[in-house]
Amino acid sequence: MAKEECKVLLDALNRVTACYRHMVLSVGGTADSQNLREELKQTRQKAHDLAVANRNNLTAALKDKTVSKEDKAEFERLWVIFSTCLEILETDMKRALELGLEFPLNVPKKHLIQTGLSGGTAGVAARAMSVQNMKYEAEHNIDEVDLKDLEQEIHKVGEMMYEMEMKVNVPQWTVEAKQDPGAELKSTISTGASSGGFVSVEERKGFCDISKLLAAIIFSAVLIIAVILAVCVVKLS
């Protein structure tokens, strides 16, 4: 089913975009490092691949004259989502370029901004690449070498967007959103944990489960002992 394929690809692109933005947030701060730049590069490449795949799929689907009207509307909706995603990706890449130029990592005179972040973004990168663990070796001066590639990539994405706009005639404003305002509240899987809370809520939740189980076991054990004692008392008397 072309639609399902498209949706899966789009979800993947969405995820990579979110991860990329998250990583660009840390550029220039004290959590910045060669590793981060390497992660950015890999995420970017993955994003590019996904974008090309998405574009091919969706253009094929939209050019197909045999699809029904609802299918066509659905594909147009997916197209708008795709194009917005690509816009955001392009902006983030441009900002990454600008920030990368302003905050080179190996120059001792230029200090990074002390933003209070201390952890690494390895987990985020792993999420982006859909792998369990990222295994990479960041080169010594990846930040400078990468910038040229980044520039070229930005050009490529810009061209792709221009081509897309010229070839596919989907006016953005005609698409109606399927989801109502507040839809994000209904289907969030994580319960209870607000990420603003720095108290270990998740652990406590697991702990609660275990403690409940333990309490149930102890209670039933006590009940059995009480029953046995009562039987013994009855027997003895």
Binding site: S26, V27, I113, S118, Q172
Partner: protein
């Protein structure tokens, strides 16, 4: 794919941003920068916090300025979002005490000239916040959310998808980092989408037409344009500064006594003493104007013609001289210039019929060339079509009738009748006010502008009806005498 519309879409140059950035970068120096502390949050310590006092002292010492100026500069740095307060995030000022902590904002969230904070991003942020706070947003955030839902409805699916993804992505970081990231993003949006009641520091007016970041290649056509521009600049008439300054000095000396702020106003300044006599005495068409006003009419012709009472008096004078139609024409032209666009065509035609057509009821005397230009222009009437004729009449009145008016008995009578209001000293007003402490002062409201305009129009209509124009009378007499001459022979 944004459809790049032509026209105004560029943000102006924001040079101050680079200056603040340089200062903020200097603050990072481990030796000569600001002393860092760590912020204690529940059980963890988050590094890289600074006290307000440290920031203030560092700025004062680094830039060799004194404390009030350093405080002002520090306020700017906080307001534009380069440093955000940790305890009171909504109050974007630099508190110079040892208890209020601040932290640097990550460079991604610094304000830039090239990229404004987009609606899509704000929508994603609000959706994320909705998830985090389980639907409990602040009032203005809820409003913005609903508004954005309508505005970028076509992107809404993407917004929701992206918000969920970003929320899940954040889980991959440590809890401490999550807290800091949350604070950062919140601070960013407090600056770029400020809550109601705070002023938007990044407001720059409208978008501009030219891109300040564009580097223009020096092509031949560009250089030709530059040459033309400079040649025109050279041809502009310039005035010697001694002459223009002399003009300003003369004007100031003449109008010095009339200025209410410099020389005070009689009877008393209504804003200070709550006594509106000053406004009543200087109403547009008051019966007896004040002496200062009448004296001002003698300064130059513009003063006379811009004052409604002066115009009225001048009109009386001109009637006696049989040149009343001049001022009537001038007033009609003003009405045309400042009136409704829809009535322009009709008004222009009426004015032509009444004043300019050969044999018109109130024919004005302008030279042939101006008449030609005006008649040609009236084929396609617009607001300023009668400008040439109006200027001619204005100069005529100024050079001719004005001088005679100033010597006329009408003006002299007006000057003699004019009242000089007594100044009420502040003390007497205070006594007056304190003697009736509990009586509610009845504030008299002046006439509604609608009613004033109606009265003016009625007065104009009456005048138009009663104006007898001498040429008509003369022509009537002529015709009657001709008739008389004709009848007897028969």
């Amino acid at each position: 794919m944004t459809i790049k519309h032509q026209g105004q879409q560029y943000r102006p140059r924001m040079a101050f941003l680079k200056k603040i950035e340089a200062l903020v970068k200097e603050m990072q120096n481990p030796e000569s920068g600001i002393k860092m502390q760590s912020q204690r949050v529940m059980i963890t310590n988050i590094p890289h916090a600074m006290t307000g006092n440290d920031i203030l002292q560092w700025i004062a010492q680094k830039l060799w300025i004194d404390n009030p100026e350093a405080q002002n500069l520090g306020n700017f740095v906080v307001k534009y979002g380069y440093i955000y307060p940790l305890q009171d995030p909504k109050n974007l000022i630099l508190k110079p005490d040892n208890n209020s902590l601040y932290r640097f904002q990550t460079p991604y969230f610094w304000p830039t000239q090239q990229w404004s904070a987009e609606d899509t991003d704000y929508a994603i942020y609000l959706a994320k916040r909705n998830i985090k706070k389980k639907g409990i947003l602040e009032e203005y955030e809820k409003e913005n959310y609903n508004f954005l839902n309508k505005k970028i409805n076509h992107k809404w699916d993407f917004v929701i998808m992206q918000a969920k993804e970003q929320y899940k992505t954040e889980k991959e970081r440590k809890k401490v980092d999550r807290y800091t990231l949350n604070c950062q993003e919140k601070a960013y949006w407090l600056v770029h989408r400020c809550p109601p009641g705070t002023d938007n520091v990044l407001d720059y007016g409208l978008n501009r037409v030219t891109n300040p970041n564009e580097v223009q290649k020096k092509t031949i056509s560009l250089i030709r344009k530059e040459i033309m521009y400079y040649q025109q600049a050279l041809m502009r008439p310039t005035v010697k500064s001694s002459v223009s300054i002399g003009g300003i000095v003369k004007y100031s000396e003449q109008f010095f006594s009339n200025d209410a702020i410099i020389s005070g106003c009689l009877p008393s300044n209504p804003w200070i003493t709550d006594d509106i006599q000053f406004w009543e005495l200087n109403a547009k068409l008051v019966d007896i104007p004040t002496k200062m006003r009448v004296e001002r009419w003698a300064f130059n012709f513009n003063e006379l013609i811009r004052d409604p009472k002066g115009r009225q008096s001048f009109q009386l004078f001109l009637k006696k001289e049989f040149s009343g139609e001049n001022l009537g024409f001038w007033e009609a032209c003003e009405d045309l210039k400042y009136g409704d666009q829809s009535k322009v065509k009709d008004k222009a035609e009426e004015i032509y019929k009444l004043f300019l057509a050969p044999g018109a009821r109130r024919w004005i005397n302008i030279d042939g060339k101006t008449m030609d230009i005006t008649v040609k222009g009236l084929k396609h009437p617009h607001r300023y079509v009668l400008d040439a004729a109006q200027t001619h009449i204005y100069m005529l009145m100024k050079k001719d009738s004005y001088a005679r008016y100033l010597k006329s008995p009408i003006y002299k009578e007006m000057l003699a009748k004019a009242i000089e209001p007594q100044g009420i000293s502040n003390r007497s007003v205070l006594i007056f006010r304190s003697s009736i402490p509990f009586r509610r002062r009845r504030l008299q409201s002046s006439l509604s502008p609608v009613i004033v305009r109606q009265l003016e129009e009625e007065a104009k209509a009456r005048e138009a009806a009663t104006t007898v124009d001498i040429t008509q009378v003369m022509s009537k007499l002529d015709r009657r005498s001709q008739l008389k001459k004709e009848i007897p022979p028969k």
